[in-house]
């Protein structure tokens, strides 16, 4: 069936972070950081494989990471790594039913117990720690 028939919201709707609170933002950041880390991982294997071309090849490639652009990319990788790990622990606990609240008779205005302060704190912590780690990384790399 075509997209029009199904009226699916599509990738645009999936990645839109504006409508459903910080939890949906975390969902998007988790996907982006997961894919970013995967890309970095592949790049990293390629990068380290240049050792097979001897010390000159290795040094040439390593020089790429010493540029401003290289530093900026590494800073983003640091941020993605920290966010993905901290939020990943939150998501794994949530997936196991930890900290998602207990069933109870709901009352208007029906604030969902699963979207609670513990998980929100987890998300904000992941973002703040990622920002701190990134700034520390930038300070070290650009501060020489």
């Amino acid at each position: 069936m075509t997209n029009q028939d199904e009226n699916k919201e599509g990738i645009g709707g999936m990645i839109n972070p504006r409508r459903y609170g910080i939890e949906r933002v975390a969902y998007l950041l988790m996907r982006l950081s997961g894919l970013g880390l995967l890309a970095y991982f592949i790049g990293h294997i390629y990068e380290t494989s240049t050792i097979l071309k001897g010390q000159i090849g290795w040094n040439e490639f390593l020089a790429l990471t010493q540029t401003n652009a290289g530093h900026a990319i590494l800073a983003i990788v640091i941020a993605m790594c920290v966010f993905h790990t901290v939020n990943g622990i939150r998501v794994m606990l949530g997936h196991g039913g930890v900290g998602v609240g207990k069933p109870a008779r709901p009352d208007y205005p029906y604030i969902p117990a699963s979207q609670n302060i513990r998980h929100k704190m987890g998300i904000y912590s992941a973002i703040i720690l990622a920002a701190i780690a990134m700034m520390y990384g930038l300070a070290v790399m650009f501060g020489e």
Binding site: M1, Q4, D5, E6, N7, K8, E9, G10, I11, G13, M14, R19, Y20, G21, E23, R24, A26, Y27, M30, R31, V91, G94, H95, G96, G97, V98, V100, G101, P103, A104, R105, P106, D107, Y108, Y110, P112, A113, S114, Q115
Partner: protein, 255 residues
């Protein structure tokens, strides 16, 4: 009172006497012959208590009765009137114009459901997935043959699932879900929450059976706990909680 005759005075039967009005933008689309959705705009008077559904019915009554909309109970009970209102899935009968804080109200058919016409969408897939998780008590004996004539349950046992039995099958959760946005085979938050409702019922013996059904490539593992389902549910069902508790059984966090 208004100087010029208002719509309310003309018809004599509508409840609106307000001088306030909003622009109601209604998505029009007929898959039989339209290639794309278009919008029609109407000026509709409203009161503090006027719902979006009432505004749509006002349009049908006075301006264009061909607008297709599904509704029945008008009190958030039948689950018929789900639609996208100013960008989010909501029940039209349960959403007041005054709470939207906007002079323009845009109503569109729910996402992730095939459109029949205008605001009315097809529910077949939702009913299919709901049915797939076996939404009834599974056990060998029946209430007719047991000595007690009924399956006893303590108030505490009732609390384990009563929240999830509030579901009215409106589909708002499936419309908000980011997985549903790209995967129409996904079983969806509505059905998963109902799987939990029965698994958590002390009278039910079908847990293994149901867990097997949702342990599928388009089953529970496609949920990433974004929680949007719970944020739009008009009955406080909290499907995201039910799904994670259900996954807790499958991952061995709970027994």
């Amino acid at each position: 009172m208004a100087q010029t005759p208002s719509l309310a005075e003309e018809s004599g039967s509508t409840p609106f006497s307000s001088s306030q009005s909003i622009t109601l933008r209604i998505a029009r689309y007929n898959p039989q012959h339209d290639s794309a959705k278009s919008f029609m705009e109407f000026q509709v008077p409203y009161e503090k208590w006027t719902t979006v559904l009432e505004a749509i019915l006002e349009v049908k009554k006075h301006f264009d009765h061909s607008v297709a909309v599904r509704y029945s109970c008008r009190q958030a009970t039948c689950g018929s009137c789900g639609m996208i209102i100013n960008g989010k899935p909501r029940l039209a009968c349960f959403t007041k114009i005054s709470e939207l804080n906007s002079n323009v109200i845009t109503v569109e058919p729910m996402n992730n459901f095939p459109i029949i016409r205008d605001l009315a969408v097809k529910f077949e897939r939702l009913f299919d997935t709901h049915h797939k998780i076996k939404p009834y008590l599974i056990r060998d004996d029946t209430e007719i043959t047991t000595n007690t004539k009924e399956f006893l349950q303590s108030p505490e046992e009732l609390e384990q699932y009563i929240q999830f039995s509030n579901c009215i099958k409106c589909g708002l959760c499936n419309s908000a879900c980011p997985t549903m946005a790209t995967d129409s085979s996904f079983v969806g938050p509505q059905a998963l929450a109902q799987a939990y409702r029965y698994v958590a019922d002390s009278r039910d013996k079908g847990k293994d059976n149901r867990l097997k059904i949702i342990d599928d490539s388009h089953g529970i593992w496609r949920c990433h706990f974004a929680g949007s389902c719970s944020q739009v549910c008009p009955k406080g069902v909290d499907p995201a909680m039910g799904i994670q508790l259900l996954r807790g059984y499958m991952l061995g966090f709970r027994s």
